[in-house]
């Protein structure tokens, strides 16, 4: 299935937006965390500043999110990981409440209670969590619900190559295949599970090769390329919508930043990221679009400006929003 011009432009603009978002967050995250604003003797204080706590950014991994989400409707479900921003943005989660959540503001998706690894948007059917491999079972649930309700909705579970060795993943793959659930399991292989490279953790080269063991098709995407992802997952989406069951996709992608912001990445060769960035998928798609006459320089400039404005507006919204009152911590345990 070839991507239409509209789809290509959508994917490109979304990737521009996601990259700008992640780069903005990488800078904003550092506010208040460095000397001299922090405890004496510390190089960094993770709990300080307007966006405290852990931060896991997806710069480099945009193609996986947009290539998949270009196929989705609002009613389709996406369950993401601890590195969720590219999935959330591609799924249509509005930037303002998403950002406010990361600033811990009451206008956030979770009224400040969840934070960046726990983003819940029931309207856009997006959720994520901080436990590795935990995205697959709820995606099976969304698929089961769609099937029981007689809808052609699909569910997508994203997980990393590091997660592929976690028990919940194996149980979910079997269950989805057994019950013919409309789930697309997408493994992002960014080669690193924090500091452990794939070949030190996984007994085989391609996680997608496990698909046949579970009774579903496995699809391999060797390039970190939105169009390649889009075309490769199309049959999986069609299968799921037609009631023919799940598929497992694996995409080779690149993690440009650390596992978490502040990660000194002592385990990573110093020249690795600069080399990866030479294959940056975003300028590559821009070149492709321009050469095909589908995007002019002026249109590109306008698109980039729009995307940057949306991001700027979101961060401004977050900063200006109020914090919740402390006593609200005791509310919302139960609905």
């Amino acid at each position: 299935m070839q991507a239409s011009k509209d789809t290509l432009l959508w994917m490109y603009e979304k990737m521009v937006e996601i990259r700008h978002y992640e780069e903005t967050m990488a800078t904003v995250y550092l506010e208040g965390k460095l000397p001299p604003a922090i405890q004496k003797g510390l190089a960094f204080d993770i709990g300080s500043g307007p966006v405290p706590g852990e931060m896991h950014l997806a710069a480099g991994q945009e193609p996986v999110a947009v290539g998949l989400c270009a196929h989705l409707k609002q009613e389709d479900t996406v369950v993401g990981t601890h590195r969720p921003h590219h999935f959330a943005i591609a799924k249509g989660v509005p930037l303002n409440p998403m950002t406010a959540e990361m600033f811990g503001k009451v206008t956030g998706l979770g009224r400040g209670k969840g934070g960046h690894m726990h983003l819940f948007d029931p309207v856009h059917k997006f959720s994520c969590s901080g436990l590795i491999g935990a995205s697959l079972p709820p995606a099976c649930g969304a698929g089961l619900a769609a099937k029981k309700m007689g809808k052609d909705w699909v569910a997508v579970a994203f997980f990393g190559e590091g997660a592929a060795n976690q028990g919940a993943v194996h149980e979910s793959l079997n269950l989805a295949a057994l019950w013919q659930l409309p789930v697309i399991f997408v493994c992002e292989d960014n080669k690193w599970a924090i500091s452990v490279p794939k070949d030190h953790a996984t007994s085989i080269e391609w996680v997608a090769d496990r698909a046949s063991a579970y009774g579903m098709p496995g699809i391999k995407v060797a390039q970190n390329d939105a169009v390649a992802v889009y075309e490769a997952v199309a049959p999986a989406i069609a299968r799921a919508r037609a009631g023919q069951g799940p598929s497992l996709i694996e995409v080779k992608t690149d993690r440009y930043l650390g596992h978490f912001q502040g990660d000194p990445e002592v385990y990573r060769p110093k020249d690795e990221v600069p080399n990866l960035r030479k294959n940056d998928p975003i300028p590559k798609l821009a070149v492709q679009l321009k050469s095909a006459g589908q995007l002019s320089e002026a249109e590109d400039a306008a698109l980039v400006a729009r995307a940057k404005q949306r991001v700027a507006d979101a961060f401004a919204f977050a900063r200006e929003s109020a914090y919740p009152v402390p006593q609200e911590a005791l509310q919302h345990v139960f609905a």
């Binding site: 922090i38 405890q39 003797g41 510390l42 190089a43 960094f44 204080d45 993770i46 709990g47 300080s48 405290p52 706590g53 852990e54 959540e101 811990g104 503001k105 956030g108 979770g110 400040g112 209670k113 969840g114 934070g115 960046h116 690894m117 726990h118 969590s129 901080g130 436990l131 590795i132 491999g133 590091g162 997660a163 060795n165 976690q166 028990g167 919940a168 599970a193 924090i194 500091s195 452990v196 030190h200 953790a201 996984t202 502040g262 002592v266 385990y267 914090y323 919740p324 009152v325 402390p326 006593q327 609200e328 911590a329 005791l330 345990v333």
Partner: protein, 345 residues
């Protein structure tokens, strides 16, 4: 005796390294414990000294590698397995509480399982509900696990050496906010003088880290450091607080609990785990069972995280996790408390 100031993380890594030199059956498994040195520094420098055969990075497969620790221990080795965050116990709890904890008993005492599970606990730096819990009460509640929760570097080294030499499963739970990491604010009282040589601290021995006469604060982990700061504040107001650091929950030093409460008659239990069905209730119950020999001057006060998931946003998190100010206020309230006069039998 040479001592130098170490952070708690350095003390833990030193204890493991020295015991690995002494006993070649000791080895470590866990995620990012190799080149990374453990996400919280507990195995810093050990890969370079001992190599990947004994400092083994694992896949993200906790059930498999913790079960592997059980099996290796049954076969005569002494594994240390790191559960990166205690909050992740859900993915491997069966191997811990149904097997590692119970096999010795079910075998009538005929097998030994010398496993140490190291794990990071605690919040206060905005890591939200799935990465900020303490949960030591959960592990203390199920039978068969020793539970060790150090509050400072000196104790951490002695307790870790003891843990590795113990022939039983030990949960060694270190609070991230007292590890002395260069990237997380921490209570500096947790870094202290640590002897170069090996030493052990027996389990089941609480420590009076500050003697006092008016109020007993029973506590552990990072809350010990907060309680000491609170005690300084209280002293300025003429309130003399005794701070008892439990150090281990299983075994628990019940005698030290009763001795301190008998001395002051006023008890505050300060805990960072959840309030309901937990440590504070256990300590209160121990005292309540001994009111024939221990007199209370005021009802017991319990300070703990209310039974809500730990929220992300700073004002919310600061509200639910007990702070120095809250400990001071609770102690002040205790001084004003009264019990009913005894009723004749």
């Amino acid at each position: 005796m040479t001592t130098r100031t170490l952070t708690m993380a350095q003390a833990i890594a030193e204890a493991i390294g020295q015991e690995m030199e002494r006993d070649n059956t000791v080895f470590v498994m866990g995620e990012d414990i190799g080149k990374y040195g453990g996400i919280f520094g507990a195995t810093g420098g050990l890969l370079d000294r001992f190599g990947p055969e004994r400092i083994m990075d694992t896949p993200i497969s906790e059930t498999a590698f913790i079960g592997t620790a059980t099996g290796a221990a049954a076969a005569g080795l002494r594994p240390i397995a790191e559960l990166m965050f205690v909050d992740f116990f859900g993915v491997c709890m069966d191997q811990i509480y149904n097997h590692l904890a119970k096999n010795t008993y079910m075998a009538g005492g005929n097998i030994k399982l010398p496993v140490v599970i190291t794990t990071a606990i605690g919040g206060g730096y905005n890591d939200a509900a799935q990465h900020s819990q303490c949960l030591y009460a959960t592990f203390a509640h199920v039978p068969g696990l020793k539970v060790v929760v150090p509050s400072n570097a000196y104790d951490a080294k002695g307790l870790m050496t003891q843990a590795i030499r113990d022939d039983n499963p030990v949960m060694f739970m270190y609070h991230k906010g007292i590890m002395g990491l260069p990237w997380m604010a921490y209570y500096e009282g947790s870094s202290n003088e640590v002897p170069q040589e090996q030493y052990t601290i027996p389990f089941g021995q609480a420590k009076v880290v500050r003697a006092g006469n008016d109020v007993t604060i029973i506590t552990l982990s990072q809350m010990v450091q907060k309680s000491l700061l609170a005690a300084d504040e209280l002293a300025k107001q003429g309130i003399s607080a005794e701070v008892l650091d439990l150090r281990t929950l299983v075994p628990l030093d019940r005698a030290a609990v009763l001795k301190s409460v008998a001395k002051t008659g006023r008890l505050l239990v300060a805990d960072e785990d959840y309030l309901g069905f937990g440590l504070t209730g256990e300590i209160a119950a121990i005292v309540a069972e001994n009111l024939d020999t221990v007199a209370l001057k005021a009802p017991i006060k319990r300070l703990a995280v209310p039974n809500v998931p730990i929220p992300y946003s700073r004002p919310l998190e600061q509200f639910v996790i007990p702070q120095v100010k809250g400990i001071v206020e609770a102690a002040q309230a205790l001084m004003k408390g009264r019990v009913l006069e005894g009723v004749a039998a």
